[in-house]
Every structure is written in C-alpha cells, then in structure tokens.
C-alpha cells in the first residue's frame, strides 16, 4: 500500500506544473518530433496504418498525463539514451545495441500472460495498452556498473495491467521473459554467448504492484527503439537497471521466487532484489557513488548514490525487517 505521508519526491504546492513548465515539456515533445507534425503526417502516407499499434500508441501519447512527482535532476539527452545501452541480446558493448538493432523488426509481437491468473492468454500490444492511461514519468536510472541516467519514460503502472488478468492468491511473484529469437537478436545465435536465453527477470508481487513500477512503451515522447527494449519493457526505478527487463513477451505469475538471468550467471555478484544500495558494495566495485551520464573527459560527474535510488520514502516499507546486505 502506498503510504500517503508526503514523500520527498512529491511536489510542494509551488512545484506543481506551471504553464511555463508545461510549455517546456511541449518543447521537448516537439523536439522529439511528436508534435511538429512529422509523425502525425506519417500515417497519412501509409494506407492501412490506422490499425497499427504504433499509431494507436502515438495518438495515446499525445494525451499522456504528466506525472506529478518531479525530480530536479537534469535529463540525459535522447542521443545518449538511445546509443549507450546494456542489451546483451545485441552484444556486450555499450554501442552494440544501436549498431546491431538497425534491422530489428518488432512485428509481429504479442505477450503471453500465464500462471496464477484468472485470465491467461496471448494478448496483442494494442490490447495491452488500449485501456491504460499513459503517463510521462522522469525516473533516475542506475546501472549496477555504477553509471546512471535520468530518462523521461512513457508508460503505465504494471499494477493496472496485472489486475486486469486477475492474479490468484497463489501469485506471489511475477516472472518476465524477453523475446527469444536468434533471427532478431544476433547475440542469441553466437556460440560465445554464456547466457542461457531467454533473459529472465522477476519481482515479488508487492514490488510488481507498487505504483512506481512502470510498464514502458515510450521514451522522450516516442515509441521505444529496439535498443531501449521495444516494444514493451519494465522500469523499476529503485532497482539496478538489469531488473528492468526489455522486449517482454511473457509475464507469468508464479508461486516460487524466479531465478533471474544475472543471479543465475553470478549469484555472488547479482541477487534477486538488486535494490540500489550505496552501503552494499558489488564484490568488484563500490556502489557508494555513480557517474551521471553524459559526462566529459574533464568531469566524470561523480555523484553519491542514494538508497533505493532516491525512492526510499516510497519503497523502503516493502523491505521492512529484511537484511538487505544478505538479500542484495
């Protein structure tokens, strides 16, 4: 349950969106090509476009809701958000995802909902987001490798989606899977890959139902690019980035705690919870601080890492009584 005491990140009266702020938001939407007509004109060119999930999504994005919880951190520019990625399905280098995803085709795409739910099934993308109200949310993104970004996502709470499928009382955890398709993901077909594909992530049901946990369908007012996890990804802002699984094709509600990919690869370095925690070091580096990107050669832009990535007020109660040093 969300406790209604005023959280640090909640707006004080003078912080509530003023007209100039609203206009400046329109400004970046314009820059991102949403309003200027670039994308509005596009559907007119292709005839059967109106049924395409992208068009439905773009239309919905124009009436997206501004999330009231503002953070003062400066946004990481779009060019950095789309060119500096960890997405091992495309390769292990930070620039591999943008380079190796050029021919990536999202369609066809559907998501299977399985396990402890009343309404399992295979759902199309438009079916998943059509009844949702989209929100623009600026979140801090903290990678386990000690760098971070600040990203304006577009999405809707995972809780709203899960409730639709009527989880049963046995649904204690949510298990997610990324698309397994060596034709689309080059690293899934190389012998040198040590990952047992598909990529798997998981959340405890209360974490999944938390209002901060977001199903993301866009970034900077645009639909997601493949390197950012198109067409649908998770964003759990108080956890290290690897928890926020990309290009989801399966959501399974389960009774037992899932084993996520990084835990399976190196359980001593990456756990199930992976909450951002400056007090618990990674075995090979400190998590006490992070390099906020983009940075420059003369200024690495180190900043102290905050507990739960600055969302402590909202999420700390989920972990009451737990030893977070052991359950990293």
């Amino acid at each position: 349950m969300l406790i209604r005491s005023k959280a640090k990140s909640e707006p004080r009266s003078f912080e509530i969106t003023s007209e100039t702020q609203y206009l400046s938001r329109r400004e970046w939407l314009k820059k991102a090509g949403i309003l200027g007509g670039g994308l509005l004109a596009a559907p007119a060119l292709s005839q059967a476009a109106s049924n395409d999930w992208r068009d439905i999504l773009r239309t919905k994005m124009q009436s997206s809701k501004q999330w009231p919880h503002k953070i003062s951190d400066e946004l990481t520019p779009y060019e950095d958000v789309i060119s500096f990625n960890n997405f091992y399905e495309f390769g292990t280098g930070k620039n591999d995802p943008i380079q190796n995803s050029k021919d990536f085709k999202v369609d066809p795409w559907s998501v299977r909902i399985e396990g402890e739910v009343g309404k399992p099934g295979r759902y199309s993308l438009e079916d998943l987001f059509k009844s949702q109200t989209l929100e623009d949310r600026v979140y801090r993104f903290r990678c386990v490798e000690a760098w971070s970004m600040v990203v304006p996502w577009v999405g809707f709470p995972l809780a709203d989606l899960l409730k639709r499928f009527e989880p049963t009382s046995k649904a204690k955890y949510v298990r997610f899977e990324t698309m397994l398709d060596p034709k689309r993901f080059p690293a899934q077909r190389t012998a040198r890959s040590t990952i047992d594909w598909p990529y798997v992530e998981g959340l405890r049901i209360d974490e999944a139902m938390h209002p901060l946990t977001l199903m993301v369908v866009g970034v900077y007012g645009k639909t997601l690019l493949p390197q950012n996890g198109a067409p649908l990804r998770l964003m759990v802002p108080w956890k290290y980035g690897f928890k926020s699984i990309k290009s989801i094709v399966k959501i399974e509600l389960v009774e037992k705690q899932p084993i996520n990919t990084w835990q399976q690869l190196a359980a001593n370095e990456y756990g199930f919870y992976a909450n951002v925690n400056p007090d618990v070091s990674h075995p090979r580096w400190s998590q006490a601080r992070e390099r906020r990107l983009p940075n420059s050669l003369w200024n690495p832009n180190w900043i102290p890492t905050q507990k739960f990535n600055g969302y402590e007020d909202q999420v700390a109660s989920l972990y009451k009584g737990m030893n977070l040093e052991k359950l990293y």
Binding site: S83, F84, S281, R291, L293, W302
Partner: protein, 196 residues
C-alpha cells in the same frame, strides 16, 4: 639486414605504434568518444598497451621459430611503447575516470581489486624501463637478464587484471591468456632444447 634497412623498419614500427594514440587524440578533438568518454579512453589505452606488451614478448619466440635474430631489434622499443601506453592508461584512469579526486581514487582502488593487480603489473615495469639502456645492460651483466624476467610476472598480473574486470564476455582475456601461454611454452621448449 643492412643498417639503412634497419633504420627504415624501426621508423615504420614507431609510426605504427603511435597510431592508436593519434586515433584517440582525433576522437577526443572531434568529440566522438560517446556517452562515457573516460571509460573508453581508459579501456582503449589499456588494450593498446597490453597488445604491444604481448608483441614485445613474442619477439624472442619468433626469433627461435624463424631462426632470425632480426626480431630482437624491436623488443626494447615494443617494451617501451607498451609502458608508455600503460602509463597513459593509468594517467587517464586517475585524471579522466576518477577526476583526480583523492577520496574516489582511494575508494575505487580499495574496492576494485583488479586495479591493485593492474597497478602492480605497471610498477614491475618501472625498473625495466630504467634499465633499458645499453649502458645499464652492460653494467648489470648477467643480473640484467634475471631482472628483465620480471616482464613475465608483469604480463601474468596484466592477464589477471584483464580477466578480473571482464564481465561475462571472456573472449578477450581468453585470447590474451592463450597467446601468453603459447609464448611461455615456446620459451621453455627452446630452453630445454638448448640445455640438452
């Protein structure tokens, strides 16, 4: 090989070895290092330094394999160039990556064990650089050879450094490792044959 040939060849090798540094300078000046420039500069300098160190270690085995002593002409200059790149690697870590912040440097060094290993590898190269002159070699005599065996230890520590910071993708450290052990193997084989 004639003297003129030797000089030309050396000039060419020097030119080739300065190229990675020039390339990095170009990337810095044209601001095309990407989102995390410090990480890239540190990594690329370390990679160049390791490659050149491995090349320097290959000269003696190549001499034995090809039965031509010409390779030895390049051993010292390769060693010095690798030290140059690895020094720049260390400097880039301190200046670009850590921002010359003493608290960050101390904490990162204590929390990232592979930094200590890499630093030890670099420190072991320092006495080799100071005794790389012909004069020092003459003065030290047989002890020079013993002293310069430190380069093996330095390479082994370098290999450990590369393995330790690697995350999941171990192709690079495995390639360095296999090459190092092949080169070691050839040396020991050569020695065993000579002592027969």
């Amino acid at each position: 090989m004639k003297k003129a040939q030797r000089i030309w060849l050396k000039v060419l090798v020097h030119l080739a070895l300065v190229m990675p540094a020039l390339w990095l300078v170009y990337l810095i000046v044209s601001q095309s290092l990407g989102t995390d420039p410090a990480e890239k500069v540190v990594r690329d300098l370390g990679f160049a330094g390791a490659c050149i160190l491995w090349l320097s270690l290959a000269m003696t085995p190549l001499k034995r394999l090809t039965q031509s002593s010409d390779w030895i002409l390049f051993r010292r200059l390769l060693g010095l160039w690798s030290f140059t790149y690895l020094s720049l690697h260390l400097l880039a870590f301190l200046v670009f990556w850590a921002g010359l912040d003493v608290a960050i440097i101390l904490e990162e060094v204590s929390e990232r064990p592979y930094i200590i290993v890499g630093l030890s590898a670099w420190l072991l190269m320092v006495p080799l650089v100071f005794t790389s002159t012909r004069k020092a070699r003459r003065q030290l005599g047989r002890r020079w050879v013993t002293l310069h065996k430190l380069v093996y230890l330095s390479a082994l520590l370098g290999l450990l450094h590369i393995f330790w910071f690697s995350k999941l993708d171990f192709v690079q450290p495995i390639v360095f490792g296999v090459l190092l052990f092949v080169m070691f193997g050839l040396r020991f084989k050569g020695r065993a044959q000579r002592s027969k």
